[in-house]
């Protein structure tokens, strides 16, 4: 009997080991919160909130009813020290960060608890710094939609190279606040001294270095579920509406994908399988048991547009190869007026296990809803 128990334990241990070895690389701690993140020019802003922040409690009901004086805590905001949103801004008087150890600044992001407040003047977020009594005010624009969402959600939209928009949804309310990253004084730099270097072991964890290198070229939007599983999309910096690539958007033939000469295609990496309508975009497409990774191309059709998920996520924007197509879906297309946004992507959470991919470029916007496929 004892031997059987030992075998069971060893068996379970072996199974666990194999599972761990084949599990997707950990991308975020499972902290029970939904995280939305946006990194522009290597400067990040993120917002975390409870997934079941519903309107049940009295205070929440008062907020949703728009009662003056109502306030409720909705989440936590973290931002690079250059973040300016409302009165929350860079403290230029603060001592500069330490000289770069390996070429990159690594300041700890400031954390603020966010309270959604309805006062006599309108709507605002109170951002209370976690380790102090400092409170900043983030004025919110507000409108209502006919469709309602039962649970609170937030999303971060890039609108320019270093600017974006925070959007909150709850009930039939939609709130917005613009933000940007200030230009900071150049950090002090390491003198050019002989003999400074970086030694590494074979198993040295270089993921931080890899990520910094990645973000030196690309911007990132990410959505992290409460269990820590992450969806990440990367888009090249500076693909604006003045460049030749934007010009190709209007020249693309029906049936063709939009080529990019100055950038690779958009890239998605997901710890979870995604279902767009009836189409699955699975994990493990490149390595069984690991996250899925795809290039996302825009294909023009006779009647609209499609997202093409392709199994070469690190090809260049000139190197589309249909032999590697994995899935293709129809998407919603809308054209807004007067927008000069560079090429960008937003991952918008729309439910506990659901979201929306929104690609935008100038006035063009393409979007598709997904649910997490088990």
């Amino acid at each position: 009997m004892q031997h059987r128990l030992l075998i069971l334990i060893l068996g379970a241990g072996l199974t666990t080991s194999i599972t761990v070895a084949q599990a997707p690389e950990p991308s975020n701690e499972a902290d029970g919160f939904v995280h939305v993140m946006l990194t522009l020019e290597s400067q990040a802003i993120s917002l975390a909130y409870e997934p079941d922040l519903s309107g049940d409690e009295r205070a929440r009901r008062q907020v949703l009813a728009g009662m003056a004086g109502a306030r409720v805590e909705v989440g936590t905001l973290e931002g690079h020290r250059a973040l300016r949103i409302g009165t929350l801004a860079t403290d230029f008087e603060a001592p500069p960060p330490e000289p770069l150890a390996e070429g990159f600044p690594k300041p700890a992001p400031a954390t603020h608890e966010l309270w959604l407040v309805r006062n006599a003047q309108g709507w605002e977020l109170e951002a209370q710094k976690s380790d102090s009594d400092d409170v900043n005010i983030i004025p919110l624009s507000h409108h209502e939609r006919e469709t309602t969402v039962q649970k609170f959600s937030a999303s971060l939209h890039s609108t320019d190279a270093e600017e974006g928009r925070l959007e909150l949804r709850w009930g039939h309310h939609v709130w917005n606040a613009d933000f940007r990253f200030d230009e900071l004084p150049r950090p002090s730099r390491r003198p050019r001294v002989s003999g400074l270097g970086q030694a590494r072991e074979a198993e040295t964890d270089t993921t931080g270095l890899v990520r910094r290198t990645m973000l030196a070229e690309r911007n990132e939007t990410a959505l992290v579920f409460p269990d820590g599983r992450r969806i990440q999309m990367l888009f090249w910096k500076g693909i604006g509406v003045e460049g030749e690539d934007y010009g190709r958007l209007s020249d693309v033939d029906d049936g063709a994908v939009v080529p990019l000469v100055r950038a690779p295609p958009l890239r998605i990496k997901s710890d979870v399988g995604l279902r767009f309508g009836a189409t699955d975009v699975a994990t493990g497409n490149l390595a069984p048991g690991f996250a899925g990774a795809y290039a996302v191309w825009l294909r023009k059709t006779g009647t609209g547009w499609r997202f093409v998920f392709n199994n070469e996520p690190d090809s260049w924007g000139t190197q589309y190869d249909p032999d590697f197509d994995a899935a293709e879906i129809d998407v919603d297309y809308a054209r807004t007026g007067g927008s000069f946004r560079p090429l960008g992507v937003t991952l918008v959470p729309t439910g506990e296990d659901a979201g929306r991919v929104v690609i935008h470029w100038g006035p063009h916007e393409w979007a598709a809803d997904f649910v997490v496929a088990e």
Binding site: G197, T206, W316
Partner: protein, 437 residues
Amino acid sequence: MKIQPLVVVTVLGVLFTVAAPGYAANEVAVTYYKDVLPIIQDNCQTCHRPTGENISGLIAPMSFMDYKETRPWARAIARKVESKEMPPWFATAPKGVFENERGLTDDEITMIVSWVEAGAPAGEMVDAPPVKQWTEQANDGWTYGTPDFVVKMPEPYVVEDDIYDLNIQFYKKLTEADLPEDTWVRGWEFRIGDNGITHHMCSSVFPPSAQVHVDGAAVEDEGNAVTGSNLLSCVAEGGESGILPEGYGVLIEKGSMVSFNMHYHKEAAAGSAVTSQAEIGFFVSKEEPRYKVINDSLYNRGFEIPPNHPNYRIGSSRVLEKDTLVLTYWPHAHTRAIAARYTAFYPDGTEELLLDVPNYDQGWQVTYKYKEPKLLPKGTRIDVDFWYDNTEERGARQKFNSNRFVGYGPRTDDEMSLGFIGYAEIDEDLATTDNNN
């Protein structure tokens, strides 16, 4: 009449012997001095000599300067040339355009194999060609003659026993004595020394206006990421130096600083410490060159190579903003790389394969140098592709962990995807003349 098989074989044998061109084994005896040494002189001794041409310090492990040195390796030589592993050359296309292209003709391979099959006889010394004179024998070991000036790492650096992988920078400010005035150079030779642990060495020149601080944006700091600096070149295992064609040069301003970006990689073990003090020999242009040479790379550093993937592509691209004369290509990647390719897409819609390396070997970091600079017109797009094998099988051979995503990084265990090009842009006022030429 029934023809006997033996007769057929005999007749065919005679026919083949008569018809076969070149060096059939049963023709006149093939000997070392008469037949093999000329091939070895022209194709092997560049590296296989006591101070062979190899800037990484990876001198070929054995010398083939005479019969005594060559004979013990005869069978291995036959195997290597028959399989075309030697002389090392990894580009299958284009052929005949690169000045440093290596390779034996089929006749030469047959000759060597026949010699070995015949017992590798020496023959008569009187049949031997004259002993080949190598430049460095008269130039203190420098391959291209005595440099006009030499810049050395400020101090010898000891790569200690416990070091496994180290990226480190050294700088040498050029004094009045080193370089009294602005100077155009037509070439340079990196000499790392016989340390056997240098994965690569890159060198940049920082003119006085660009010497303030390290920017820190580049992982390997190849120089092109540091504003105002000029990357001379990088060399790595199996690479070689070179002299620029006539009319091409690089300006080194008085008071410049020269960097030595060293990447050492070895087993960390007791007794493994090595001393390194690289130096660069510069060759000065007699007159101001017509074309200023630039070395930089096409890159895509945001990649992640999936675990256990056998053939993963990473691409990058660039559109030329001026008419451009290309001198060199150097595809640089690490242990997972298995193939590399450069392709030109011309403004008229045609395309051309510029370089195809279907069997990339990171142990042979070859710079592919045009015999004649290649003119690519303004508007040409160059695409660079690399393919990677991140499987367990390759990982076992190359000593890497295949069970993880791999991104861009400085260690040999990390990966790179850098399509270096050496080129000169043609100024508008020269474009007409050059295009006509």
